[in-house]
């Protein structure tokens, strides 16, 4: 994909800013105790992602990326957070997210993960052009941070948020590092996330019906003795 010199001058710093925002949001999610805010943060991540895709579309002039950006905005920034919001109200889950580890410790682990991700991405970054330098590392870090969030939370909803955040990270890696994937792949990824979301949504109701709570601790009883 060719990018004009003018685009390079202002587009790439902007893309880097968006990447930094994504990472920041991932850290914010890791630090967040309240479920409602967590969903808001997820929505913001979706917005950043859509903005990133739109930026790439503008820079490279690929029209199909505009569709992708619109889809991302609709799906990840609006639809899924709204549904999660309604779920939260219908299931009447409130209060704090109970973390397995305390927040500062989790954040420290997160920093370690970011360093690990960057060291991993170093060889890949060396191969790519100056445009995408650092993007892969940031995206990988976002994925790992989301994974860490899934591990350290007890409520089922925060697991779903973590799952969607992983997806966001992957998506960002794909668009920023390669400057746009084929449409079909993006559609597939989006559909995948949606289906995963639906399945987990059904799962929530099942968990709640069985245990009368959304706490995953209850699942510990169902194992072979």
């Amino acid at each position: 994909m060719t990018i004009t010199a003018q685009g390079l001058a202002w587009g790439i710093p902007l893309l880097r800013l968006l990447a930094a925002l994504l990472l920041l949001l991932a850290f914010a999610m890791l630090a967040q105790r309240r479920l409602l805010t967590l969903i808001h943060l997820l929505a913001w991540q979706g917005v950043v992602l859509a903005a990133g895709t739109a930026l790439v579309a503008l820079l490279t002039g690929q029209t199909e990326l505009w569709f992708s950006a619109a889809l991302t905005l609709g799906l990840k920034a609006i639809l899924i957070p709204t549904v999660l919001h309604r779920l939260l109200r219908r299931l009447q889950v409130h209060g704090d997210v109970e973390a397995v580890l305390n927040i500062p410790l989790t954040l420290l682990a997160g920093i370690a993960l970011v360093i690990f991700a960057f060291s991993l991405a170093a060889p890949i970054t060396a191969l790519t052009g100056p445009v995408t330098r650092g993007m892969v590392g940031i995206a990988l870090a976002a994925v790992l941070l989301a994974f860490l969030m899934m591990i350290t939370r007890r409520k089922a909803i925060s697991q779903v948020v973590g799952f969607l955040a992983i997806d966001n990270g992957l998506f960002f890696a794909a668009t920023s590092a390669t400057l746009g994937m084929p449409m079909i792949v993006e559609l597939g990824v989006a559909l995948d996330a949606l289906i995963g979301f639906v399945i987990l949504g059904v799962f929530f109701f099942q968990i709640r019906e069985t245990f009368d709570s959304m706490d995953l601790q209850n699942l510990e009883h169902i194992r072979e003795e």
Partner: protein, 660 residues
């Protein structure tokens, strides 16, 4: 006249078996008709298979490819002298056994008979396919058909827990073996495994010594699981008695030899260039198996269990001969390798006949006298005279007495041993005579076990109250056929040895000295020649003359008196030597091996239970270890999603760190 190629004939026979099995399944509702129709037809088919085997000995090798389930995975069949020989074995044994089955299975319930018809013919089909397979894919599918069909036959009486246990053990070990064979084929075929691993691609596989040894060990392990070699014999003494008699006869006589067939094909044709340590290894395993089998055969109280242990012993002897052939071959002594291999093949055929005969006979005893526990039998020679006569022939043959067939193969084997000083390696030629003495010990103990087998069950007085009846016509004719085969192979060894020529030629590139007339000349006319016919005539004349002399001087008039009871006034059948009593010397000498437990019940009766040392010493710790490991693995399952996520997270991190 339509000319029929051996491969067409063989595959046609197998298809007919499949058809007969299905037909039997449909007709099972009319037991008598089904038995009278299906089994005799199926035995004719078996004869066809044997004919195809005979013609394959002289015909050029033939190939057949059929479209398989995947484009690159064809069903592939071939016939060559080696498979021809084993087809003869399978066909002739199946011929007699299926005739026997005609009478034997009449009493089965209808659903059981339907199932049995299908399973029995599938089993035969599986064995035939194993012999005809020409690529690893077809071979393994056939191998599994054979294993599964025989599993279902073993659990025919699945209402009994013992049967189910025996079946499970058999299935477990059969699968372990199949897995090892698969891995061995993967090593041998290399890249060609993607095309189903055609055997032609494995011929003289270019493997470096390490991988060749790995392939050898894997296939040997896999096949020895089926052959019942130490320490994988554990399923055999349970599975054979659990199956109905004709099935035991087929399993013991033919199925065990399928493993030998596999070893021959892999070691001589695929690996070709043999490492020097393989032969001694096989020989050692074989000798240990033979001694173990015969020592345990001698102390069994159940006829079929005794025969099962004796099968282990005979497989051990075959392996000894095979190991010797490997040794000679590895040192470039082609003629001696041919001698040893001829002994192994001869013994394989012998074993099929006499063990088949004995298993069928014990089936007749089970039907006639209601039990195969020797301590409830006795004196059957008067109630079942014909069965007793055939069984006598069988026991004499398996005990290796001239002029019957068991003697011929053992004679060949010992001749091969006696020629081992020709080996260039001095340690080996020094150790081999010791192995020979071990073989002689096994053979002698086998005779001991067989004297017990016959003496306790057929001689003396009846221990049970039930009156035994003679076996039916079909059963007797089947036993008569196998007896005739034993006598024929004993009296005319040259016939079979000449037939073996192409097989040996294919395996070793060198045949066996052509036999002429009634003489068996393993090496040369001056050395160790043996003519069973002349021996038999001489023995018969000497015996007849002395009988006539004694009879004419002292025998008239003939008096019948009760046997002398050592002056003891009371005599009951229970005072006869029992089966364990007869084995007492062995029980004393090898006491640590048997781990016999004596217990006495309230009525003051002694009972003795013989353990299986390898089961306690090896398999039980193994199963405990497996359970313990499973319990440790269970710790991973805490039920916490967080923890499961942590597992995948850590795996991801480690993988990323390692393959960066």
């Amino acid at each position: 006249m339509i000319s029929c190629l051996p491969l067409d004939l063989a595959t046609g026979a197998l298809l007919l078996w499949l058809g007969l099995g299905l037909l039997g399944f449909l007709l099972g509702g009319w037991p008598t008709a089904a038995c009278r129709l299906i089994f005799p037809l199926s035995s004719v088919v078996a004869l066809l298979l044997a004919v195809s085997g005979f013609s394959a000995l002289t015909a050029p090798p033939d190939q057949l490819q059929l479209r398989g389930p995947l484009p690159a995975l064809p069903w592939s069949f071939q016939i060559d002298p080696l498979s021809g020989f084993f087809l003869i074995l399978l066909g002739l044994l199946a011929f007699a056994v299926t005739l026997f089955a005609t009478g034997y299975f009449r009493a089965l319930s209808r659903p059981a008979l339907r199932r049995l018809m299908l399973q029995y013919h599938t089993f035969l089909l599986g064995m035939g396919l194993v012999l005809l397979a020409a690529n690893a894919f077809t071979f393994l599918v056939a191998w599994e058909i054979m294993a599964l069909a025989s599993y279902f036959l073993v659990v025919t009486e699945h209402e009994e827990a013992g049967s189910r246990h025996a079946g499970f053990l058999y299935l477990l070990i059969a699968h372990l073996g199949a897995l090892a064979i698969l891995l061995g084929f993967v090593l041998l075929a290399g890249a060609a495994i993607a095309q189903g691993g055609p055997f032609s691609a494995m011929l003289h596989a270019p493997l470096d010594p390490f991988w060749a040894s790995a392939a050898f060990l894997l296939t040997f392990f896999g096949f020895s699981a089926k052959a019942g070699l130490l320490p994988l014999h554990i399923w055999l003494p349970d599975a054979h008695p659990a199956a109905p008699a004709p099935v035991s006869a087929l399993m013991s006589g033919a199925m065990l030899q399928m493993a030998f067939y596999g070893m021959l094909r892999v070691d001589f044709l695929f690996l070709g260039k043999l490492a020097t340590w393989w032969g001694p290894f096989v020989l050692g395993v074989g000798l240990a198996t033979a001694l173990f089998g015969v020592l345990f055969a001698a102390v069994q109280t159940d006829m079929k269990r005794l025969l099962a242990y004796s099968s282990i012993e005979n497989m051990g002897l075959i392996m000894v001969a095979f190991g010797l052939a490997l040794i000679f071959r590895a040192h470039g002594l082609g003629a001696l390798a041919a001698l040893a291999l001829a002994a192994a093949l001869y013994h394989a055929l012998n074993h099929a006949f006499f063990k088949g005969l004995l298993f069928l006979g014990s089936g007749s005893v089970l039907h006639g006298a209601g039990s195969v526990s020797m301590d409830r039998l006795g004196g059957l020679i008067r109630q079942m005279p014909q069965t007793a006569f055939f069984m006598l022939l069988g026991t004499l043959a398996i005990a290796g007495l001239p002029p019957l067939n068991g003697f011929v193969s053992e004679w060949l084997l010992l001749q091969a041993f006696l020629l081992s000083p020709a080996l260039p390696q001095s340690t080996l030629s020094a150790v081999l005579p010791l192995a020979a003495s071990g073989v002689v010990l096994a053979v002698a103990l086998a005779a001991y076990a067989m004297v017990k087998f016959y003496g306790i069950a057929f001689l003396g007085q009846a221990r049970g109250a039930r009156h035994a009846h003679e076996a039916g016509r079909w059963e007797r004719s089947a036993m008569a056929l196998l007896s005739v085969a034993c006598i024929f192979l004993g009296l005319f060894p040259g016939v079979l040895l000449n037939l073996l020529h192409p097989v040996l030629q294919e395996m070793l590139g060198q045949g066996f000295a052509v036999q002429q007339g009634l003489w068996l000349t393993p090496v040369s006319a001056q050395r160790a020649s043996y003519s069973p016919a002349i021996f038999f005539l001489g023995m018969a004349t000497a015996l007849g003359l002395s009988f006539l002399l004694i009879w004419s001087f002292f025998g008239r008039p003939l008096r019948r008196v009760p046997a002398w009871a050592c002056g003891f006034p009371v005599r009951t059948p229970a005072m006869q030597d029992s089966s364990l009593g007869f084995a007492q010397p062995l029980l004393r000498i090898f006491a640590p091996l048997y781990q016999a437990e004596r217990e006495v019940d309230g009525a003051g009766r002694w009972r003795m239970r013989i353990g299986e040392p390898l089961y306690r010493g090896f398999y039980q710790p193994l199963s405990l270890l497996a359970l313990w490991l499973s319990a440790q693995v269970l710790r991973l399952q805490q039920g916490r999603i967080t923890l499961y996520l942590l597992y995948s997270f850590l795996t991801l991190l480690i993988l990323l760190a390692v393959w960066r």
